[in-house]
Subunit: 244 residues, 2 copies
């Protein structure tokens, strides 16, 4: 399961799409422009938007919303649900929106995009994902926070990273509520999956991978969990050298 | 998926095992004794304990904990992980402890208990489950709150009820946190599974099924969700006539 990170991979993985009181993707706009802009050729070919995490809104509506937001940043974008498989090769890059991770994975696999997109990413095409879209880059979606409202044939995801992300990470819990804390859930993950580190990405923060270099950027940072070790809080700029 | 509830089914399904500040199963002890006591023959043959939702503790440790707690109420109990398949027929009843629902279902199916226990329940043997153990009685575990730390071959569960439970239900959310509310998650479930009502069982409350009669008892009650309708708050004693 531990794949060596390809030096060609270019990923920007956000914990969330909206900070409290802020507009959609506003907190990360500078990072997104820097990441996609640096791609050189990228802005010329439209980005392929993967709207499949949407449940309460249609894929068309989600794509329209994303098209408008990315147009504001100067990027053209088309929806994968309306595109043929050749669109993966032609895409300037890929954008996977948040929503329900089980649905995203289910539709990505069922429609044949999962392998196709992963292949283009290994060739160096940039990938931007938030929340469910960030989970999709991991070996599996076993550290999602979502409800399993649909049943993918497998929980295996794109496997571009050798560790798991937990988006929307927080150590806070509801007072006088008996449900498990996020830390307890991740500890359970580690009992059954001891080899995979889990990076709990706090809201407002993101991970950028480029040239084999993994960087934690923006916001409050992350908490790194490894089986049998004490969790470690990391601030943006902290070394992620141990992660691959 | 809508099975008619058998008149023989005897279920006691708890949202949670411990109220804030209380001891383990203390809040429901009266209900448990009333339910298992009323079984007549039940206290004579040991109860079969299904410890498979445990992740951070061993099945032996979980069973020892349950054995001690049930002994205090006058019931003998043996762990299913140490018993042969004949134990299902001989059991005075079944107790499914909480923990991780994915693990519970995975082990129940893998070890051959899922069908065997369901069969005995259809014959009238009593079943007590809390949290993950309550999810197990439903058509699927698609309304669990747990992290999918392990991948069961299918999310289909015992299918004894024609609706879904969401244990630990609360409408509360963490302030300034972007994760979905429970109501949003259940709304997503209904987009993809419109025929199955979801009963959000609040902590402290339980559901009792006996003689074809479904009762909401104890604690603050539940919220009933149906696709396309406004959620409805129910107090203990409210009619559940529409549910089967």
């Amino acid at each position: 399961m531990h794949q060596r990170i390809g030096h060609r991979l270019r990923l920007l993985l956000l914990s969330n799409s909206r900070n409290p009181g802020g507009g959609w993707l506003d907190h990360a706009e500078g990072e997104i422009r820097d990441f996609l802009g640096a791609a050189g050729a990228t802005p010329r070919a439209p980005l392929l938007f993967l709207p499949f995490a949407a449940v309460s809104m249609s894929f068309d509506a989600y794509t329209a919303m994303a098209r408008q937001r990315f147009a504001k940043m100067g990027y053209a974008l088309v929806g994968a649900h309306r595109a043929g498989p050749a669109a993966a090769r032609a895409a300037g890059g890929f954008v996977a929106g948040g929503g329900n991770t089980f649905r995203l994975l289910h539709e990505m696999r069922r429609r044949g995009w999962l392998e196709r997109v992963a292949r283009e990413l290994r060739r160096g095409r940039p990938y931007l994902g938030w929340s469910a879209g960030a989970n999709l880059a991991c070996p599996t979606i076993r550290t999602t926070n979502d409800m399993p409202v649909i049943e993918p044939a497998s929980l295996a995801a794109m496997g571009l990273l050798g560790f798991q992300l937990n988006p929307h990470y927080t150590e806070r819990t509801l007072p006088r509520h008996g449900g498990e804390s996020r830390d307890q859930r991740i500890a359970e993950f580690h009992v059954l999956n001891p080899r995979l580190p889990v990076l709990g990405l706090r809201e407002g923060s993101l991970l950028r991978l480029e040239g084999g270099r993994l960087e934690l950027r923006l916001g409050p940072g992350a908490r790194l969990f490894r089986a049998g070790r004490k969790p470690r809080d990391l601030k943006p700029g902290a070394s992620l050298a141990g992660l691959r």
